[in-house]
Symmetry: C2
Subunit: 146 residues, 2 copies
């Protein structure tokens, strides 16, 4: 099991739009940087648009950020691209045997614990913004030029 790369691609897209501000961020241009098909980019871009992170219009080439860099967290992206259903990171078997003490209690016992773990993950993602990513990339570029 692995969380879809849509998430990482979403981060890539937003970072690229931010860094290439002024340039024309068409789906083909972005696909070239991500190294995938433009349709894949447009699909993910649609999700980012629905989440209010990005402005795109049919027929007009290019995309812009709809929010300030520092106002977009990785959690925003994660939720936007629907890589994990709400409260469903962990799958729990259903229909355990109600005639068994373990069977009839396991769900109520385990589900809150797993939700808690999922929450810990998501809280962590909330503390990083696209601005942080951009700064890190700029930093790495600077270092490599030295």
């Amino acid at each position: 099991m692995s969380i879809s790369s849509r998430f990482a691609v979403g981060i890539h897209i937003l970072s690229l739009i931010a860094i290439n501000k002024g340039g024309v961020n068409s789906s083909e241009f972005i696909a070239g940087s991500v190294n995938t098909n433009p349709v894949v980019i447009r699909k993910i871009m649609g999700m980012l648009k629905n989440a209010g992170l990005v402005k795109v219009r049919p027929g007009i080439a290019g995309a812009e950020l709809a929010k300030d860099l520092s106002g977009i967290t990785l959690l925003d992206v994660y939720k936007a691209v629907h890589v994990v259903q709400e409260q469903e990171l962990f799958n729990v078997h259903d229909n355990p045997n109600p005639a068994c003490p373990v069977g009839r209690n396991i769900q109520n016992t385990v589900v809150p614990l797993l939700l808690n773990a999922q929450l810990a993950l998501e809280k962590n993602l909330e503390h990083v913004t696209i601005e942080d990513i951009i700064k890190d990339i700029a930093n790495k570029e600077k270092i490599s030029k030295e």
Copy 2:
């Protein structure tokens, strides 16, 4: 995307073995409580055995815990049943374009952040033991009898 229910079933199995201590925990018995096929149980049991959490022997009915209840954490179970590959909860697209400043840095920038989030999840699981689960089940049973 969803993390395989093997994890929840693994917890179920260990809890059942603990509570039914003294009884014969055959794969068929456990399957009856989980409500699945005995082969599914045996496969997961094999993983729990490889991880040193459980003792089972070919030909002999029943399984026992190989460790103390309080010494088995949810993280132990999670790792035992291989629901998430080491350091691969998040999938990152490969071969981004090295000719692009974002493309050539995105992996080195994003991977550590995602690993960090995965670690937050796993740390959380480490703080809960099978003993906690058993106590919670016992508690819920007691309440429901009142």
